[in-house]
Amino acid sequence: MIELEHVVKRYGGRGAVDGMTLTIEARTLCAFVGPSGCGKSTTLRLINALIRPDEGVIRIDGQDIAAIKPETLRRGIGYVIQSIGLFPHWNVADNIATVPRLLHWPKARIEARIDELLHLLRLDPGEFRTKFPHQLSGGQQQRVGVARALAADPNIVLMDEPFGALDPPTREALQGEIRRIQAETQKTIVFVTHDMDEALRLGDRVAVMQSGKLVQFATPAEILAKPANEFVRQFVGGADMSIRVLAVARVAERMRRDGAAEGEPIRERASLKEALTLMMTSGREILPVIDDKGARVGIIRLTDLAHL
């Protein structure tokens, strides 16, 4: 759990972060979103003490981080940035091993961990271990960047616009990976982005920031349904809002446990957008719904998609 209490960070008299108070629950993904200069990256860098607040307290699992040696604190927190920052003179394995080596893990454990992480990020260890960063594509580099951040199994991972420089397909693939990895590893992830779609897709909760202040901190559905003010409404994007709801809400939230339907089923974890797409491509108004194990659990109708 990460708690910020009345945190202020000023640059040249202006509050880059201006009285921020919020609590990020453990094992959730919190997405900070806002226009550039709103203080979201500053907030992130306050959490791993790359910068120190002028006022206020930041606590991780109840402990004030001002009382922890910054190097010790950072070795326990994964950190991923947009420009990735892989060490160009080290190969992939050495890059991933950075923090475990700083923590003096035994060699065999580090080697096993490198393979485990490469598998987790869907990179073949045989092929990638000995490659150097300049031999990788942008997407592969950021997979290594994420693997490196997860290397010492930190409870918290901070990500500063990690996919901002990637092309849209690569970006979407990596967003999927982050959701999967978060579900598998139960990390607390703080994710900074200027892209509202990305924030809504990834965040369990979304923190919308403007001029150093927290404007709204809520679930994606709440942000869409009840934007706190005009700024959030604008940012979410007026006309497209209903489409965004479809992209964010899950089939499980709208399905009925009774009834039967024929044809290709939809997973209950799928988004309403995927359900609508399947209805339109297959020309049906009712879809059977299955759970992760493939068992039938109910149906969803076209009309179920409509009510907000």
Binding site: P70, Y79, I81, I84, H89, T98, V99, L102, G145
Partner: protein, 383 residues
């Protein structure tokens, strides 16, 4: 049609030099000016034919379409000339001196130097066109040096006046080489110890940047003779005030001011190398290193230093080669080294004595430069 201008220019230069400039100079003793001996007069008909053949191959190569085989041919012809010219010059000197008194002098003249240099440059050009690796280059250079050294030990050059000067001053020569190397080594090491921290300081604290490089720029603009001279006064006063210092060899003239001046000249390129090396490390790399919990020292040693190494080595290369050249001037203030032959020769108008100082200096600089090329290649290969 001209396919290779470099070779063409080199062949023409060598050709004109062979026709118009003396290959050797021959004097009855070292004090009078000698008689010019042309290439055609100096060497046998067979040797001349071989030299012309190699020259013809090189000249033809300038007009043929480039291929690997052609470059190899050029390399072979150029290397043959590079080796052969000193050997025939040595042989010609032996023949000439045999006809005269033992104090007669046969010296290498302009024609020889230009032809030899042209041949070496042609070989270098061929190596570049062949895209030769460092190992191949190193092998060739060491091979040629070995052949010439062995020929030298077996007496092939004994009658050349350069060799005679060296033989007459064998001990002084060995001392001078040693002293020269000592001056360069100590001053470069000191420059490394002082210059690198200055470069790091300038990179870490922008406020210091102007001060550090402004100061070093000014030092660099002082002419070397003036700087050597400027140090005499303060150091003499210092050693007068503290006689213990004189026991350590510190006085107005000699090694101490020479090393101080060499260090001062080396600081700017050294600090610039360190600064540029650190500046070449991407900011994102340092940011993540910090974000992952590396300490300042760990970031410097494990991340910044390896990435900055090639640029730093380039700086060290400039510093070392420059120091080898500048150390010649240090002889003026009594620091010894190869410069003492140069200035002795200047004073006596003895060209060969000057060359005895200058030629080894050039070879020392080229050798060190070559070693740094190899080190740089290795530093770049391990990314």
């Amino acid at each position: 049609m001209i396919r290779n201008r470099v070779i063409l220019v080199l062949v023409l230069t060598a050709f004109v030099a062979a026709l118009t400039l003396p290959f050797l100079g021959f004097a009855p003793n070292r004090l009078v000016s000698g008689r010019a001996i042309a290439l055609s007069e100096a060497v046998s008909a067979e040797s001349l034919a071989l030299i012309i053949l190699c020259g013809a191959v090189l000249a033809a190569a300038a007009f043929l379409s480039p291929s690997r085989a052609l470059h190899l041919g050029v390399l072979a012809a150029a290397l043959a000339l590079t080796l052969f010219l000193p050997l025939v010059a040595g042989a010609a000197a032996t023949t000439l001196v045999a006809t005269a008194t033992p104090i007669a002098r046969a010296s290498l003249a302009g024609g020889f130097w230009i032809m030899e240099l042209s041949a070496a440059l042609a070989a270098g050009d061929a190596l570049r066109r062949l895209d030769a690796g460092l190992a191949a280059k190193a092998g060739l250079v060491i091979g040629i040096a070995a052949v010439l050294v062995i020929a030298g030990f077996s007496g092939a050059f004994d009658q050349l006046s350069l060799a005679k000067e060296a033989a007459n001053r064998r001990e002084a020569f060995a001392d001078a080489v040693q002293r020269h190397g000592f001056l360069v080594l100590v001053s470069v090491l000191l420059a490394l110890l002082i210059g690198v921290p200055l470069g790091i300081l300038a990179q870490r604290r922008p406020r210091w940047h102007t001060l550090v490089f402004g100061g070093l720029d000014i030092v660099q603009t002082i002419p070397s003779i003036a700087l050597f001279g400027l140090l005499i006064g303060p150091l003499a006063a210092l050693s007068d005030a503290f006689p213990e210092l004189r026991q350590l060899g510190i006085s107005g003239i000699g090694v101490a001011p020479a090393i101080i001046a060499l260090v001062l000249y080396s600081l700017l390129p050294m600090a610039r190398g360190a600064f540029a090396g650190l500046a070449s490390v991407p900011a994102s790399v340092v940011e993540t290193a910090r974000g992952m919990g590396m300490t300042g020292a760990q970031i410097l040693l494990r991340v910044e230093a390896p990435i900055a190494l090639p640029v730093l080595l380039s700086g060290l290369r400039i510093v070392t080669v420059q120091a080898i050249g500048l150390a010649v001037v240090a002889a003026l203030i009594g620091a010894g080294g190869l410069g003492s032959f140069v200035f002795l020769g200047l004073g006596q108008r003895a060209l060969d004595l000057m060359l005895l100082g200058a030629v080894p200096t050039i070879f020392m600089a080229l050798g060190v430069d070559f070693i740094f090329q190899i080190l740089l290649g290795m530093a770049r290969r391990t990314p």
